[in-house]
């Protein structure tokens, strides 16, 4: 176990910092009330690649993910410092329309959370809240996103049925379909498989791999195996600090920091 004082400063492998960054996190700090959850995070997230956040519970990886689409705004007493840019614009810009920012960023949550509506309406939701009412557009978007999330064949005959009738894995894939229905630039996934059985997990991992090249995917995961299977880049967090970020292969085979090596090899965490 390491003390905060003993933590090494962030090490970012050059492969991860070169190339076009879709999201760049710059000296970002975050406090819940008086306790600091994130300490001076600096991290570029490359466009159209898959980046996973790993680290033990409470290390701030989910908090950082929620800072990207400002979902932390819903919690009272959160203060931030530093900057996160998605594309060219800062998400903490003063007059930014948060809803338009969130429309550019899809999000999938730890526990599947379909709305108590029909399957069709669930997938339509991001478009409906953007004011799209054209039936043809909606139907096309529903089909495309359900096909992308490999759910179309299973549900095409019961689009008007309640989404809550689906199985757990189907519900999570529906949530993925919903997240990508608005055609976002970024897809944030907060431990999307932690509540699923291995077969559903495999299906979703397959989906994530297919997303590569279309979206910039950021995935928070507790499973080292999952990170190594799906991600191009991995960032390791510990005690609210970013310890090391780099290509997944490098991190898993030959990490620069000892803390990273220890965590990945299961010596703590």
């Amino acid at each position: 176990m390491l003390n905060p004082a003993d933590l090494p400063s962030t090490f970012i492998h050059p492969e991860t910092s070169s190339g076009p960054a879709q999201i760049s996190i710059q000296n970002f700090n975050l406090w819940y009330g008086k306790s600091q959850a994130l300490h001076a995070i600096n991290l570029p997230i490359l466009q159209h690649e898959i980046t996973s956040f790993i680290g033990p519970s409470g290390c701030g990886k989910s908090t950082l993910l929620r800072a990207i689409n400002r979902l932390n705004d819903l919690i009272d007493n959160v203060t931030v410092d530093g900057d996160i840019r998605v594309g060219e614009r800062s998400v903490y810009e003063r007059h930014l329309d948060v809803t338009s920012l969130r429309k550019r960023i899809g999000m999938v949550f730890q526990k599947s959370n379909p709305f108590p509506m029909s399957i069709y309406e669930n997938v339509c939701y991001p478009l409906r809240v953007s004011g799209i009412t054209s039936r043809a557009t909606l139907e096309e978007a529903v089909e495309t996103s359900l096909r992308s999330s490999a759910l179309w064949d299973e549900v095409k005959d019961r689009l008007k049925r309640s989404a809550l009738d689906l199985s757990g894995g189907q519900q999570q894939r529906l949530c993925i379909a919903r997240a990508i229905a608005g055609n976002p630039e970024v897809l944030l996934m907060d431990e999307p498989c932690s509540a699923l059985d291995p077969i559903s997990t495999a299906k979703i991992e397959e989906l994530i791999l297919e997303m590569k090249g279309r979206f910039t995917v950021v995935i928070v995961t507790h499973s080292m195996a999952q990170a190594s299977r799906v991600s191009d880049h991995t960032a390791f967090f510990y005690l609210g600090r970013l310890i090391e970020a780099g290509p997944t292969k490098r991190l898993f085979e030959n990490a620069h920091c000892k803390a990273t090596q220890d965590y990945i090899s299961g010596r703590f965490g």
Binding site: N69, L71, L74, T99, S100, L101, R102, K103, I105, G106, M107, F109, K111, N113, P114, F115, P116, M117, S118, E121, Y125, P126, R128, V129, S130, K160, R161, S162, A163, L164, D165, C175, R178, A179, G182
Partner: protein, 573 residues
């Protein structure tokens, strides 16, 4: 377990020396079972179950008494003729009780008999001492007649039709006579309540037009010339309408004369007779020569009459339709007001306002409002709604009718608003609870899709909270339907001349006073001529009120479970 243990020790004791360990084990088991009973709280479970059973029995008893008494009021009971030492009584036995003989001052068991025939010089109720009873019989040829006026009649029915000499009517021809009479009176009623009432409304409207013109002329809003032309128009209209009215009244008079010429004679047991138009009689039967099917037929026909007809004889007879209608209409109007106001308040407090001391204080205040006695709301309702808001509306829109108030007095709208005020805390509290129970993950999902706060609230949070809101509404309705005290001041009346909804423009008359089952019960039970006479109606009305409450609740619960089903999957949209 004990027997098993001892058997084991016996069998082992037969083979070898008794093993103290086995005996020891047995006793330990017994002890531990007693100890388990105590620690698992078995006595407490019995106490709680006992409490539940007591309450259930009380409720069942309450419903049983109300329902049996109420339905018995509509049942065609048998008639007995009792010859006692000092009197001859013909009537329906009501109950037996212990009382004091007014002559001898001795205690006696006596039977209360309903003799009817109020207008034949007979006491409606007679006490017959059971001990001094000489003989009793059930005469099969006695008629029981329900009349439009003077209450029921018991005795013989004679007719002069055909022969010209009074003779007992043929039981077979009587129903047809009554039917023709009913048709005649229906025809009369249709004209009086239909065309004639329309003409009356028209005359009243024209009179108000005239008054309004006078007022405008006084205020100088219109010129003399214009006023004169308009006056003459109104006058000519009034003249033509009055002519129509006169013609129709004459027609009604003629019909009535024809109707009253067809008569029937009632002969009471004491020899008195009374001759009256056939159409005055609503229903006749011979209670002692009915079979079960006839009885059931009469029972259901009376039941239908009870819920569908207007009351007669100062509410002690006839139906309770206006009261039933008023109760349901008032509850619906109240719901229309209480639901949006309560839900919006709760949404503001829970979803929009910043949670802090002020919101907490408001929340406490709302909770306390739910505990304010209902009569206080009644006083507020009459002071604020009737005399302040209503009087202002009259000043602005109904000046012609002043000094007669339109909205400036009790009415169904004000009563409903008062009850809405009374029940809004319940809706607020339960809506708030329902809102706070909406899972955070659903809100996050909606925000994550780029929805605004209002979109999230409207599309996700409110629909999800709806079953909880319905729970609040059910509680509110249940409380409102049974509430009488605030209504006494805000518009309930013993007998309303017209329903709040009719065929005259604007069809819904929210300013009208109305009848209410709860008040009806109070009025029957405590304000009527004879409590003994109105007792059956009290129970019948009470049964109906309970039925209304239960069915309103049932409908709301059905809607709620439908909503729940939707939010837990299973089902199409």
């Amino acid at each position: 377990m004990f027997s098993f243990g001892s058997k084991q020790s016996d069998s082992q004791g037969a083979n070898q020396a008794p093993q103290p360990a086995v005996l020891f084990k047995t006793t330990v088991r017994i002890r531990s079972r007693a100890a388990n009973n105590a620690t698992e709280g078995v006595p407490w479970i019995w106490v709680c179950a006992g409490a539940l059973v007591t309450i259930l029995l009380l409720i069942a008893g309450l419903f049983g008494v109300i329902l049996s008494q109420g339905l018995s009021a509509l049942w065609p009971h048998q008639v007995i003729k009792i010859q006692s030492e000092n009197a001859l009584v013909l009537g329906i036995p009501m109950r037996q009780e212990e009382g004091t003989d007014p002559n001898t001052n001795a205690r006696q068991i006596r039977s209360l008999v309903y003799q009817a025939n109020r207008d034949f010089g007979v006491n409606e109720f007679a006490f017959v001492s059971v001990e001094r009873l000489v003989e009793s019989e059930r005469p099969s040829d006695v008629w029981f007649a329900e009349r439009r006026e003077w209450g029921p009649f018991l005795g013989r029915i004679q007719s002069t039709e055909g022969s010209g000499v009074a003779a007992d009517v043929d039981p077979k021809t009587l129903p047809a006579m009554l039917l023709r009479g009913a048709e005649r009176s229906k025809q009369l009623l249709d004209i009086e309540k239909g065309a004639l009432a329309d003409l009356n409304t028209k005359i009243e409207d024209l009179r108000l037009d005239k008054k309004s013109l006078e007022r405008q002329l006084e205020a100088g809003a219109i010129s003399d010339n214009e006023a004169n032309t308009r006056f003459s128009i109104v006058e000519s209209q009034l003249a033509s309408v009055t002519k129509d009215h006169l013609a129709l009244s004459t027609q009604v008079q003629e019909l009535r004369t024809v109707d009253e010429a067809i008569k029937i004679t009632l002969l009471a047991d004491n020899g008195q007779t009374k001759t009256l138009p056939v159409s005055q009689i609503l229903r006749v039967f011979q209670p002692n020569s009915l079979n079960w099917i006839d009885r059931l037929g009469i029972f259901f026909s009376r039941l239908w009459g009870f819920v569908s007809e207007e009351p007669r004889e100062a509410n002690t007879e006839g139906g309770v339709f206006p009261a039933l209608f008023g109760t349901v209409a008032m509850t619906i109007i109240m719901t229309v007001f209480v639901l949006p106001v309560g839900v919006m308040t709760a949404v503001y407090m829970r979803e929009i306002a910043k949670q802090g001391t002020l919101v907490s204080l408001v929340r406490i205040a709302v909770n306390n409002l739910a505990g304010v006695p209902s009569i206080v709301y009644g006083v507020f309702g009459v002071g604020f709604f009737c005399y302040t808001v209503g009087a202002s509306i009259d000043q602005l829109f109904f000046q012609e009718k002043l000094p007669n108030p339109t909205f400036g007095t009790g009415g169904i709208l004000w009563a409903s608003l008062t009850l809405a005020l009374l029940t809004v805390p319940v809706v607020i509290v339960s809506t708030e609870e329902a809102l706070s129970a909406v899972p955070r993950s659903l809100r996050e999902a909606s925000y994550g899709c780029g929805a605004t706060r209002m979109q999230t609230l409207w599309n996700i949070v409110l629909p999800k909270a709806l079953p909880g809101v319905m729970t609040g509404l059910i509680l509110a309705m249940a409380r409102a339907v049974g509430e009488v005290a605030p209504l006494l001041m805000t518009g309930v009346v013993k007998l309303a001349p017209a329903l709040p909804v009719d065929s005259h423009f604007p069809f819904v008359h929210l300013e009208r006073s109305f009848m209410h089952l709860g008040f009806h019960i109070y009025d029957l039970g405590f304000q009527s001529r004879s409590t003994e006479l109105s007792r059956p109606m009290v129970f019948a009305s009470t049964s109906l009120l309970v039925a209304v409450v239960l069915s309103l609740n049932f409908i709301a619960i059905k809607i709620r479970s439908q909503l729940r089903k939707r939010f837990e999957g299973r089902g199409a949209f």
